[in-house]
């Protein structure tokens, strides 16, 4: 166990040290980040991925519906639409399923020099956190819409989306911090 973790840390230290010591790393990060971001969004708007994206939205609405019911609430699900008994309905459309912020996180993680195992862990854990937050966002909007439409428009269009971007930034920051801590331990021990 100790040897395995030591090997993992050794693997981790090399890209980190080169990141710290090589002058053009930030430029490479920005370029890779931009390319990954464009590639991700470019892929997202293709018809095939759009179709998968709609299916993903339906799955998220199913989870949100289950959550509402589990908490004692009342809602009816119709594909990607969640309906309240009072008549209010909310649909999870493209751009509301946190795929855009997930692409943002993925681009940042893929652009940062780190071993693939660490990257994969960051991609999976980060995506899971963002999706959980997005379900919370969707359920909160479902109730806010029943209460006040003006506040719903504000929270839906601007507030929640900005908060998700801030969360994405902090998730990435935590991931980088974890790498740095692990790398620093190896560097000190070497």
């Amino acid at each position: 166990m100790g040897e395995q973790s030591h090997r993992q840390l050794d693997n981790l230290s090399d890209p980190l040290i080169s990141w710290l010591l090589t002058g053009n790393r930030p430029v490479r990060f920005v370029a890779t980040f931009g390319i990954c971001l464009l590639f991700g969004f470019g892929l997202l708007v293709t018809p095939r991925v759009q179709s998968a994206d709609r299916e993903f939205s339906r799955a998220l609405v199913a989870v949100s519906h289950g959550l509402v019911l589990a908490c004692g609430g009342h809602a009816i699900r119709d594909r990607a639409i969640l309906r309240a008994p009072g008549g209010f309905a909310i649909e999870m459309q493209d751009g509301c399923n946190a795929v855009n912020v997930t692409i943002l996180l993925w681009a940042a993680i893929l652009a940062f020099p780190a071993p693939w195992a660490t990257r994969t862990l960051g991609l999976l854990a980060g995506s899971l956190i963002l999706q959980l937050l997005n379900i919370l966002r969707f359920v909160s909007l479902f109730y806010l819409g029943q209460y006040n439409m003006a506040w719903f428009d504000f929270a839906h269009g601007y507030l929640w989306e900005s908060l998700l971007v801030l969360d994405t930034m902090v998730v990435f920051w935590l991931w980088v911090n974890r790498i740095v801590r692990l790398g620093a331990v190896t560097h000190a021990g070497a």
Partner: protein, 219 residues
């Protein structure tokens, strides 16, 4: 865990500032910002405010429509007119308070310069993205009227629209804040020695309270 505290403080402070500044923008600032944006954009395109508060935009665009069943002879277009609801236009001013929230959440003694410079950059970005949005909308309208756009043309139009409306308004404030705020950038990207990010806590410092209460016992 001092690192976790920094993240948590940034997140708490950033979230509180986002809520506060976006509410301020929604109720107070969006009107004047929209007015200034319209004045600036009118240097490039003709904009009229309609009765519903939205904009009627006339984008200069040279295009020729080929003959079709409903159009016996080819037709030349010199400009495209379309309406944009006020809620859609509002989206081109909201990145500025998001940028402010990120920079103010990072705090630090040298936040004023990135705040001022970043605001100027964000204003330029908002104007640029609005003009790109006009162009994309006009081109897509012409393509629809002309009928039959190839797959790559459709994809480029969809990507441009997605970036300008759904992605960049949220990403650009983050990128500009990270580019200009040295302490925030150094905190996230560990590139050697850098000034430490000093985010004021929203809550009383538990360690200080604990130390104060623990001190008499140790004595």
């Amino acid at each position: 865990m001092p690192a976790l505290e920094t993240h948590a403080r940034f997140l708490l402070r950033g979230s509180a500032l986002l809520v506060g500044l976006l509410v301020l923008w929604w109720f107070v600032l969006s009107g004047p910002m929209l007015y200034l944006l319209k004045e600036a954009a009118e240097s490039f395109v003709d904009i009229q405010e309609n009765a519903a508060g939205g904009w009627t935009v006339s984008v200069p665009l040279e295009a020729s429509l080929p003959a079709a069943p409903g159009r016996p002879a080819p037709q030349n277009i010199h400009s495209v007119d379309f309406d944009i609801p006020r809620t859609d236009v509002n989206g081109f001013t909201f990145s500025i308070p998001v940028f402010w929230a990120i920079v103010l959440a990072a705090g630090g003694r040298r936040s004023l310069r990135p705040l001022m410079l970043g605001t100027a950059l964000m204003c330029a970005y908002e104007l640029g993205s609005l003009l790109v949005f006009f162009r994309i909308t006009a081109r897509s309208a012409v393509a629809q009227i002309a009928g039959g756009q190839d797959a790559s043309g459709k994809w480029i139009g969809a990507l441009g629209h997605y970036l300008v409306v759904n992605a960049l308004p949220f990403i650009v404030p983050l990128v500009v804040a990270l580019s200009l705020h040295r302490e925030l950038r150094a905190a996230i990207f560990p590139l050697g020695k850098a000034p430490e990010l000093a985010i004021p806590s929203l809550l009383p410092d538990k360690r200080k309270v604990r130390r104060r209460t623990a001190l008499p016992r140790s004595l």
